[in-house]
């Protein structure tokens, strides 16, 4: 197991006014790892995602991706370097077609300029065809090919989640951040989601960091789990180690003594 690190976060802090949303956060993720980020509500998990993807600017600390310092980059620059994500409350381009949702995510790799767009030049036609094939391939992988021309907001919830992952993958990122992908799914949907995550993890040679509350998912697919509480990492390790860590149990259930005293 000697994989090189692709993401290195050191001493990351983010305050909102007086609130420490993320505090002294250190994490490295190795290539092709599948890491789970868990913790009670309000622990700062999504804030970590927002910091990695540049949606929030860190108060201090640094984030390096593939050796490059990306701490101060804009979200789209970070996406273009190969980190994409999904959102806790699905954010699709909701009045556009499923196909367009996926195509837009491939946009930054398109090399024709606006002149070619306006003239519909030969280059434009050739590239558009490639984008189209590319998008359909991804939709095929996700079993959404029959939905290609449907409006995204009309899809059932589970398929919207899938589409969001498909959209994040079409540009072939190196690191994928999934924010509660199983939220609101029923057990059979969760099962197929787990298979899907395992499948894309291998097929696209992806590194994945995922936030999840469904312990079945975390314990079932993650190689390593990081636990946060009050903005800090309180424990990390293999899933089975985490499960028995008293600090983790305390974070989720509160101190036993406290319960007794009440």
């Amino acid at each position: 197991m000697n994989r090189k690190n692709i993401l290195e976060i050191t001493n990351l802090n983010r305050y909102f006014g007086g609130l420490k949303a993320v505090s002294n956060f250190n994490m490295t993720i190795a290539e092709h790892e599948l890491v789970g980020l868990i913790g009670p509500n309000g622990a700062g998990k999504t804030t970590v995602f927002n910091l990695i993807t540049g949606m929030y600017v860190p108060s201090s600390g640094s984030i390096r991706f593939l050796g490059e310092d990306i701490t101060k980059l804009k979200p789209h620059q970070i996406a273009q370097r190969g980190i994409t994500r999904t959102f806790q409350n699905i954010r699709l381009f909701s009045s556009l077609s499923v196909l367009d949702n996926v195509r837009i995510a491939y946009n930054y790799k398109v090399d024709y300029g606006i002149g070619h767009s306006i003239l519909h030049s030969q280059k434009f036609i050739k590239r558009e065809k490639e984008i189209y094939e590319k998008a359909l391939n991804v939709l095929e992988t996700f079993g959404l090919i029959d939905r290609a021309y449907e409006v995204a907001k009309n899809l059932p919830y589970g398929e919207q989640r899938k589409l969001e992952i498909a959209r994040a993958l079409v540009s072939e990122p190196k690191l994928l951040l999934l924010d509660e992908p199983a939220a609101g799914m029923n057990p059979s949907e969760i099962k197929s989601l787990m298979e899907l995550i395992r499948f894309i993890h291998n097929k696209f040679n992806l590194t994945i960091l995922l936030i999840e509350h469904q312990m079945r998912v975390v314990m079932g697919i993650c190689e390593r789990v990081v636990v946060m509480d009050f903005g800090e990492i309180i424990s990390q390790g293999k899933p089975e180690e985490i499960q028995n860590d008293p600090k983790v149990i305390e974070a989720y259930l509160g101190k036993i003594t406290e319960c007794v005293n009440r």
């Binding site: 993807t53 540049g54 949606m55 804009k74 979200p75 789209h76 620059q77 996406a79 273009q80 994409t84 994500r85 959102f87 954010r91 699709l92 381009f93 909701s94 009045s95 556009l96 367009d100 195509r103 837009i104 995510a105 946009n107 930054y108 398109v110 024709y112 300029g113 606006i114 070619h116 767009s117 306006i118 003239l119 519909h120 434009f124 036609i125 590239r127 558009e128 065809k129 984008i131 189209y132 021309y149 959209r167 994040a168 540009s171």
Partner: protein, 325 residues
């Protein structure tokens, strides 16, 4: 396999249809069945189509609320009139020079003003653009202090009438094709993604600042060209032609036609001009004052019964993009 990029009607069919429409109107005009008064109104409708297409790109497609479109229309109008006046040479082809000058200045100013204010969202952006529009109007009012020929609040007189139906029609067709092609391409999809969800767009690598500015600049260039045509359609310009209410006119056309619908903008612009002018002809002398009372009532009724506009985001067949296998 043929290319997947296909519109539902072929290029040749479009050329044929466009040529026929042009020929019919041109014949009606040269035989005086459409009299000069109505010729001017038809040209004005074309001018409004171009201007409103620009606003539709900014607001309907890119989602950036603008209440200051008339400012760019005015910048185009004054620049074009000024350029041709300075050249002092009355050739209809010179109109192109004026239009290019107007379009360029409108685009440059849109770029300069767009960079800071496009950071604002929705209503705040609307208010900022409204403020910008009023500032520009006041500058027109005082322009004679620097360039006496612009006339300031007395208005600019003696502008050569170079705009004719052929120019307007040609530019409408070009404007529609460019917009259609742009929208159905990767940069166009990027513009639309900004409207749909800015955060999601950034997350998939779209530089939203760049595309917002791009949409704003191109839309303002449309307004600038429309302004240039307008200046040379009538021989008189007045700052009041570019005040807040004129920005509203463009917005009305976009919303009445249906946001992000090119067809809607075309139809709504024509209907809007025809209804406003038509009421002038239809209404008997005694209740002519009612024209501007009936028009807002129509507006309110359309909004109540068809809040998404006439076309509701749909397109005419010849503007539709089809790629289903």
């Amino acid at each position: 396999m043929m290319s997947n990029i296909k519109y539902q009607i072929s290029k040749f069919q479009i050329i044929a249809i466009v040529a026929i429409i042009y020929a019919i109107i041109q014949i009606l005009m040269s035989t005086q069945i459409i009299n000069p008064y109505w010729q001017q109104i038809i040209c004005y409708a074309g001018v409004m189509i171009i201007s409103a297409l620009g606003l539709n790109l900014i607001y309907g497609f890119t989602g950036q609320f603008s209440l200051g479109h008339a400012a760019f229309f005015g910048i185009g109008a004054y620049t074009s009139a000024f350029t041709i006046r300075m050249a002092n040479f009355n050739n209809t082809f010179l109109l192109v020079v004026g239009l290019i000058a107007g379009a360029l200045l409108a685009g440059i100013i849109a770029f300069i003003i767009g960079l800071p204010i496009l950071r604002l969202r929705s209503d705040y952006l609307g208010i900022a653009t409204l403020g910008f529009g009023i500032i520009v109007k006041v500058l027109f009012d005082n322009a004679d202090a620097v360039f006496p020929v612009l006339g300031g609040s007395r208005g600019m007189v003696g502008i050569t009438k170079l705009t004719n139906f052929t120019w307007v029609f040609l530019l409408v067709v070009i404007g529609v094709i460019i917009l259609r092609n742009l929208i159905n391409s990767a940069p166009g999809r990027a513009l639309i993604s900004v409207r749909e969800d800015e955060i999601a767009a950034e997350a998939v690598g779209i530089n939203t600042t760049k595309y917002k500015t791009l949409g704003f600049v191109i839309g303002s260039i449309y307004a600038g060209i429309a302004g240039g045509l307008y200046a040379h359609l009538y021989s008189f310009l007045h700052p009041q032609n570019f005040d807040f209410l004129k920005s509203i006119d463009a917005l009305l056309i976009v919303v009445l036609g249906g946001m992000a619908s090119i067809s809607g903008t075309i139809v709504a612009a024509v209907l809007w001009v025809l209804i406003l002018e038509g009421l002038r002809v239809v209404l008997p002398e005694a209740i002519l004052d009612w024209r501007l009372v009936i028009y807002p009532i129509l507006l309110i009724l359309i909004m109540i019964f068809r809040p998404t506009g006439i076309f509701g985001g749909k397109e005419f067949q010849f503007l539709q993009y089809s790629e289903k296998r």
